[in-house]
């Protein structure tokens, strides 16, 4: 076990845990953002550099600070390590710089992008980016291509996180796509006009943090915040069958895997569940998907609060108004 202090809060985690995962165990505002790290994909992380943090004290044995900022997703903790994330102006400045770099070749046309509303880069830029751009030059652009009959690749939007290539490597038998070229001319592509065609290829869409890989069966059908996400499952021979149905009235517009609070899929789903069962009758619907209330998707939120709970919540707030300490919220009690 190793004791680490992140932004002044101490936590004990297992040896070998990365700083990012230690911060996630703590939760709260001090969790560094991550655009390329994906806990269920081996070898991911270290590339986007938005998770950079400052190590003010290396360990209790060797208290010297690490001179450079480190990528929290790939640096393991040491006992007695002191990490600064939000408390270090240097980190925030570097992160702002990285967001700027990610945006210089990324089109700033969120209103016409299908990913808007569930885009990690949009959230990141909102939190850490500048409100104007200093980049005057022409942006890098590519033609849209179809990789397989269900997936659209728009390289222009790609931030080269390499997640989708890892899905191809690790979830499926054959590696059919990867990265071509070098530097800012790099592109995700398939091997000379070969289609990405295997049972789990659809997960590429879920792991993409931006709008580079989108589902052709859903593309431009609806803005994501006009749909209602419902947890659902069916018995499937290929995968867990646990999904989220994105519905409009009783129509299933899209099926995706379930993402956790950090936007990561823990249980990948097969293409049959994703594309071939867009009928509510095929699914056992469990109930509304919990979406973080800060997300734009929660705009159209509908999780029913029964009146009794609502009354208790109002009473709780009134107590607080009277100057008493805020009692625990109902879902925090246990």
């Amino acid at each position: 076990m190793a004791k680490v202090t992140i932004d002044g809060i101490e936590i004990e985690v297992a040896d070998g845990t990365t700083i990012l995962n230690a911060a996630r165990q703590l939760g709260g505002a001090s969790v560094p953002p991550a655009m390329c790290y994906y806990s269920s994909l081996k070898g991911s992380g270290g590339k986007c550099r938005v998770c950079l943090v400052k190590v003010a004290q290396g360990s209790s044995k060797d208290p010297r600070p690490i001179p450079k900022l480190v990528a929290s997703c790939s640096t393991p903790v040491a006992d007695g390590m002191v990490v600064q994330n939000l408390t270090s102006p240097e980190v925030l400045e570097a992160r702002k710089g990285v967001v700027e770099f990610l945006l210089i070749n990324h089109p700033l046309d969120c209103p016409v992008c299908d990913q808007a509303g569930e885009c990690d880069l949009q959230n990141l830029a909102y939190e850490h980016g500048a409100s104007t751009t200093r980049y005057e030059e022409e942006r890098r652009t590519f033609e849209k291509i179809d990789i397989g009959d269900k997936i659209k690749l728009h390289m222009t939007r790609c931030i080269l996180c390499y997640r989708c290539t890892m899905v191809a490597n690790q979830l499926t038998d054959n590696r059919v796509h990867g990265v071509l070229n070098r530097g800012d001319a790099s592109e995700i592509s398939t091997y000379i006009e070969k289609a990405v065609d295997n049972d789990f290829s659809g997960n590429m869409i879920d792991v993409c943090p931006v709008g580079a890989l989108t589902d052709k069966t859903f593309r431009f059908k609806s803005r994501v915040w006009f749909t209602k996400p419902m947890d659902a499952h069916r018995s499937c021979t290929k995968c867990s069958g646990k999904t989220v149905l994105w519905m409009k009235d009783n129509e299933v517009l899209r099926v995706t895997a379930r993402k956790d609070q950090y936007g990561e899929v823990k249980e990948f789903i097969c293409n049959e569940c994703r594309y071939d069962h867009k009928n509510a009758a095929d699914w056992t619907i469990e109930g509304p998907r919990h979406i973080d209330r800060h997300s734009v998707i929660a705009q159209n939120h509908y999780e029913k609060t029964d009146l009794l709970t609502l009354k208790k919540e109002i009473e709780r707030q009134i107590e607080f108004q009277k100057g008493k300490p805020l009692p625990l919220a109902l879902d925090e009690k246990k």
């Binding site: 986007c48 710089g97 990285v98």
Partner: protein, 452 residues
């Protein structure tokens, strides 16, 4: 001329063949090491010699060797980094082309010290003809019993292979080199683990520059302590310098560490002074990645002491008024050089060579190139100069590998020392329309030109 430890016999006709090389005392270090020394003793000699990595970073080679995980049951590898692609550096090519056996000999002795049974020379793809020279030398060494099974009748066996890269600068970064050698895309790895623990095929690996490995030969022959007597302080031995640019005698020179920079530039033994009787304007002392220095700072440090060709003296003053010895790519510029144009050329190189794996380098190098292109062609604004400084600052230190730093340092230093010139480009766009603008009318700034 100072003492020559590597290029002593360079002028002997036929030195590239095994017979002549052997006649001139070649392969003595292999005999000495294999027959009279244990591997640890060889490592000890290298440690005593104070030899520092000649590829650019200047990390002590003996220390790097001692980090190698010797307890692991996996095979150990020695990989020679011959992917020399830094603009301004061409010393390794010269050495491999002229005395290929020196590198082969160094590889055998070093592999013995590290306990490697298989070793590789990773050479850049553009050096295909050098690869053929090396392969011929290796065939000759096999035939003479210096490679293969039971070398010189001892129980030590070694196989040596040459592997060409596909022409990427990034594959000179040691972990990208290992990825490429394994047959993958040449992207640098995240460290730790360092190659000494998990390098080639996840086995303990040492990666050394051509010149470092060649220097092991005189170290074993002379003994580490004797080798350490050459040079000054912590910069021991000799160094190959590839001198290029506006000098009378460009070429590869072997110098003793500690030679004054002024002597190196102006002495007839070395560069022979600035061509056409012009004045010295600036020097990039260690390959394109190191900070550029104006004439008055390269000849003398900020404290007024004469600057020497050593790791420490060139770095004196940090990045404010110093630079680095780097890989020894010594680029000299006369008064007609446009620093902005030179910097744009460097920036174009780094933009082209960035692997594209991590965001600051992938996007930042391209951005800097575009802004510099604008300034150089008379379309810049004053705010662009500060923008460049800021972009460079945000790349530096935030990337996976040192390519980001290498791209940022020249930009930051050129603006630090030659800001007036960038401002000139913004103020007088008409005057810089001609690409040879400073050849027609040299840029004059009283503090930057010196006549010696």
């Amino acid at each position: 001329m100072g003492r020559q430890l590597l290029l002593e016999h360079i002028a002997v006709p036929g030195i590239e063949t095994f017979e002549v090389y052997r006649k001139m005392g070649g392969y003595a270090s292999v005999e000495k090491a294999l027959k009279t020394m244990t591997p640890d003793q060889v490592t000890e000699q290298v440690k005593n010699s104070g030899l520092r990595g000649r590829g650019g970073a200047g990390f002590p080679a003996g220390m790097k060797w001692s980090f190698l995980d010797r307890k692991s049951d996996k095979p150990r590898y020695l990989v020679c980094n011959a992917d020399e692609s830094e603009p301004g550096t061409f010393k390794d090519r010269y050495l491999m082309e002229k005395i290929p056996h020196l590198l082969v000999e160094g590889m055998i002795t070093s592999s013995y010290a590290l306990g490697a049974k298989t070793s590789y020379i990773y050479i850049r793809g553009e050096y295909m003809y050098v690869l053929q020279i090396l392969e011929k030398a290796i065939r000759e060494a096999y035939a003479a019993g210096f490679l293969g099974k039971n070398i010189l009748g001892t129980d030590y066996s070694l196989d040596l292979y040459v592997h060409p890269g596909a022409g990427a600068y990034i594959c000179g970064e040691e972990t990208a080199l290992l990825e490429s050698l394994e047959g993958k895309r040449g992207n640098p790895r995240l460290k730790p683990p360092f190659p000494a623990i998990a390098g080639l095929y996840a086995s303990p690996t040492v990666v050394n520059n051509v010149e470092t490995i060649a220097a092991v030969v005189p170290i074993v022959n002379l003994g580490g302590d004797e080798y350490a007597k050459v040079g000054v302080g912590k910069s021991t031995g000799t160094k190959l310098i590839s001198a290029s640019g506006h000098i009378n005698k460009p070429g590869v020179y072997e110098i003793e560490m500690g030679l004054p920079v002024e002597e190196f530039i102006y002495s007839d033994q070395y560069c022979g002074g600035i061509w056409k009787g012009r004045k010295l304007k600036a020097v990039v002392a260690g390959g394109s990645s190191v900070p550029i220095l104006p004439a008055e700072l390269i000849l003398k440090t900020a404290k007024g002491e004469p600057r020497l060709m050593t790791y420490e003296s060139l770095a004196d003053g940090g990045f404010t008024s110093g630079t680095m010895l780097g890989s020894g790519g010594f680029i000299v510029m006369d008064e007609t050089t446009c620093i902005v144009r030179n910097l744009w050329t460097f920036a174009r190189f780094y933009h082209h060579e960035s692997c594209g794996q991590c965001s600051p380098c992938r996007e930042g190098t391209g951005w800097m190139e575009k802004v510099l292109h604008r300034i150089e062609h008379g379309h810049g604004q004053m705010s662009d100069i500060d923008l460049l400084v800021d972009v460079a600052k945000k790349i530096e230190g935030n990337t996976i590998c040192p390519l980001g730093d290498a791209a940022a340092w020249p930009v930051a230093s050129a603006i630090r020392h030659f800001r007036e010139e960038f401002e000139y480009h913004v103020k007088y766009p008409e005057k810089v329309k001609n690409p040879k603008h400073f050849e027609i009318e040299p840029f004059v700034s009283s503090k930057q030109l010196v006549m010696v």
